[in-house]
Symmetry: C4
Subunit: 225 residues, 4 copies
């Protein structure tokens, strides 16, 4: 949202953004896959782990180059860091990169003449997909931090996914809990973001349900269902 | 909702839907009862367990036949799987079948000239009933998966119902937690669906309360209560 | 709400309701105090425990008499159980009695010419007070069920109040959890009602905050604060 | 909000409020820092602990003097305690003092001609910042109560912050739980306030997201993003 080109944006900037859209998205996926491979591969699978590390570094370099080019083309200098703060955050924490998927999806939607989903359905899809990505990234990061910590309860990636589920939904059984400072920081971030996103999903679902029932009223009671 | 007949639906399709409504609902209940019997009957009550298994298989066969007939009558071929995705899900996971109860209820409501419940009350009733059914089905499925797993904390059906309660309301004490992969998958599904449904209940209750207080204001402060 | 006299209600019925309002409220408080005394008094304080039991029985008898008189005066016979279902529930579970406090409060509010609280503030006050009463009653009932059960974690009344707090807010640490069937039934009731009530509090607070900020906008940015 | 000067407020009162705004805010920060120092300093760092205690006492004295002067200037006598109840609460529980930060922020915002944040963004910022302050103060207070209690699970300040996170978001794993009466009282306060504040954040975020998607619809599907 924060990267919407305004009227004063130079033409070359928006052309760069259009051209890098698909490559950046592919790079995001490669980054996520690389990180997942690095974290999940067994310790003795050296070549795979090295390959994953190389993938992660290369794609991150690509992100950095794109970021520098966009600062240049925008003609804003360091003020770019402020006006495009979301891009800056995403550069530092590239696990959040795949959130670009949503921008791509929105862009694709817009190219078709008519959006197919209703307003609430789109909010649910957007917030739900973001929550899913956040949860997966957080599960990877927490597994990375926790799986060989002393006294850890998150020992397998399955545990980490299960932990992400119960954290995002605020159930919090307590059978799988991060114990390291790094894991707890990731967890706190997931809680705050997840709460807001799932609140949006819940609120929109509720509004959508009320809308559906209102429409049924208007159709009248005699029509067959 | 996704199974609403559109204008282009062949007449024979909607006639089939009308005629199978009540039988399918009865079959759903029989399926749920059969599954409950299979899961809850003691291991040495062989004839009852066999009867329950037969009931489950027969009703599932009935669902499959109905599904095939509807694909044929709809004249859509495999595209039916997409337009009626909820029906496809319900065929694969027949424990969600009794959700048809709600369609039946809606249909019955519509046949009477005037709905008796207000908009919010209907949303609360619909979402609450669905949550209840989901919770009961999930308790059955989790009990099935967990009750003889090593290290399980859900050992009786009472534990499973208690677990479903604290999961649906997102309290999550952690005294009863699924430990198997199957149980955790069911739990994750229950969390996601339950959260949305209870959000709808909560939101509608809140709107209803505001509505009631607004009406009281309009009635004026002098009227006796 | 369900006990509002309609136009067809006989005059004697509404006169009875007006006259019994204050005595019934006092009796509700006496009942709650009596139940609290019975539950919380030490086992060797026999005269106090007996007095509390007598208070509970007498007030319940008073409620029953009032209920029978109202069935008679309403002229509805057994249909009264349906139209006044909340009163019926409250007769069987007299711990919910003090909810009448809210009716009394509403009645008092209405007698003054102008309500002082805004719409949202009233919803918050109503739902919050009901949640408080529910929590206190549930803490009493759970303490009653649990305090001498084997393996219980709720051993003192302080534990029970702490448990009610973390349950109503859906935090659910799991350090104090009911283990008996009776305690879990009370807990499930508290969860369902508490969730709806606190959802109303949260939703109204959110709406109120948005309203306050909207008003600040309208007052204009130059006015000093 | 409760301290807004009304038309009948004497001029000297509002002048006093304007003049003490910045000093009071600085004093609030000093108080928080002093309390944090007192609580977090190791037991053998006597001079620092004494300095922190002196800071806390002096700032509290400053608050008390300000409160007395404002009672005098308001010309309301003891009725001031009722009309400015939030100020009274804040005098008794000075850890909530930094909530004045929000008043200062609002005042600063108003002096600039145009507010930069949208309505929902301001509600989110306000409620989120208040929740952060509440969480930090509660973490300090709970650490103070718990860290040397027998059987405590909150032993370091990091544990206390982690506990505040999982309590505010209602996740409640149960790995860090207050066990003393004082700690539980603070926790109950945090739960109630935090729930309302985070409900406001969630609700506003949801409304904001719906607004953003609505605007996108209005901009039309052909515009490039």
């Amino acid at each position: 949202m924060s990267a919407q080109p305004t009227d004063s944006t130079p033409l070359r900037f928006s052309r760069w953004e259009q051209r890098t859209e698909v490559p950046l998205f592919v790079a995001s996926l490669v980054f996520l896959l690389g990180y997942a491979g690095r974290v999940l591969a067994p310790h003795d699978a050296e070549p795979w782990r090295d390959l994953a590390l190389i993938l992660v570094c290369c794609t991150w370099l690509f992100f950095a180059v794109d970021f520098v080019v966009r600062i240049r083309l925008s003609g804003q200098g360091l003020r770019f860091l402020h006006t495009h703060w979301l891009d800056t955050v995403v550069l530092v924490l590239p696990l959040l990169r795949p959130l670009r998927l949503i921008r791509l999806y929105t862009a694709l939607q817009r190219r078709r003449a008519q959006p197919r989903l209703s307003l609430y359905a789109r909010v649910i899809a957007y917030a739900g997909m973001t929550a899913l990505l956040l949860g997966f990234s957080a599960a990877l990061a927490v597994y990375h931090q926790e799986h060989d910590a002393p006294g850890a309860t998150i020992r397998t990636f399955g545990d980490a996914v299960w932990w992400a589920c119960e954290t995002l939904t605020t159930v919090g059984y307590g059978d799988a809990v991060p114990v390291t400072a790094g894991g707890r920081t990731v967890a706190a971030g997931l809680m705050v973001c997840g709460l807001a996103l799932l609140g949006a999903v819940t609120g929109s679902f509720s509004s959508w349900l009320v809308q559906v029932f209102t429409r049924e009223d208007e159709k009248g009671p005699t029509q067959s269902g």
